[in-house]
Symmetry: C2
Subunit: 169 residues, 2 copies
């Protein structure tokens, strides 16, 4: 348990982080805003899924997810095929063109980070990653305490499902 002044300092850092986020957003292609990029990234990382699952990973409302998905689907970056197990659902899948778009975005963003964080050590980048993952987990845990395993205790970080989506299926 930390002191109040430390929390206030942390909150200021949260606020200032917006500037970093906006600079990252500025290098996205104009036809692929942040929401679309997030959809492509999560589909590339976790593989095919339905909208409700994507909404959970994005941590936004399903209605928001639906709009992002429509945007990327209209550009041919994903396909929505019917779910044989549930006719209400559709399964989202990255298309080859979507994978290309994702690769391009990943290339741009990692280059920006490599440039900005050129004087950071490998370990420092890892530390920031880990702490931010844990921060997200700490907030998630409090959201639905009943729907989670008893005591996570450890440092569990990012992906709950390290699935890898096959490139160009």
């Amino acid at each position: 348990m930390a002191e109040k002044a430390q929390y206030e300092e942390l909150i200021r850092q949260f606020s200032a982080f917006g500037a970093v986020k906006r600079e990252m957003g500025r290098l996205l292609p104009s036809d692929c805003p942040g929401g679309s990029a997030a959809v492509l990234t999560l589909l590339g990382r976790h593989g095919d899924m339905r909208i409700s699952k994507l909404a959970e990973l994005l941590a936004v409302d399903m209605s928001v997810t639906s709009r992002h998905v429509t945007h990327v689907a209209e550009r041919g970056w994903i396909e929505r095929s019917p779910d044989p197990a549930d006719k209400r659902s559709r399964i989202l899948r990255l298309t080859p063109r979507g994978q290309d778009r994702l690769d391009e975005i990943a290339e741009r963003t990692t280059q920006l980070l490599a440039h900005r964080l050129s004087d950071w050590t490998d370990d420092e980048v890892g530390q920031l990653s880990r702490l931010m993952a844990r921060l997200r987990a700490s907030f998630d845990d409090c959201r639905s305490p009943a729907a989670r395993p008893p005591a996570p205790t450890g440092d569990e970080q990012s992906p709950r499902e390290p699935l890898v989506h096959p490139v160009h299926p």
Copy 2:
């Protein structure tokens, strides 16, 4: 210099951070959205200043800052007094009512963090603060390389000016 996979992981954490930010925003009073809270916080931390300075600290365009300032001024939380040294400018100052509002917001947000991060050590909270401050600095440095001291090298964190605004002046 870190590996590409590490940067990609960090980018995913940046994206996921939005959920934390939104949850923090949800506990703000409805008449004091995030932009207004940021104005009050920075005025409380750095003391009286003009809009252009505030825009720099917020790292947003001055037009955006102007709107936020108008919002808080309309509610009597700050005063805009003429700058004797430059008739184009006005000096922003927190009012007692603004200070009360700020205290209330700080109380709510620190309580939320204290609850969510109850199992974090003092040191871990400090680490995250430091790394996020350095992240922001790394991005700032690249924005206007000519307008900065030659080689910051160190871990310099948050406030460039640790001024403290007198409470209830």
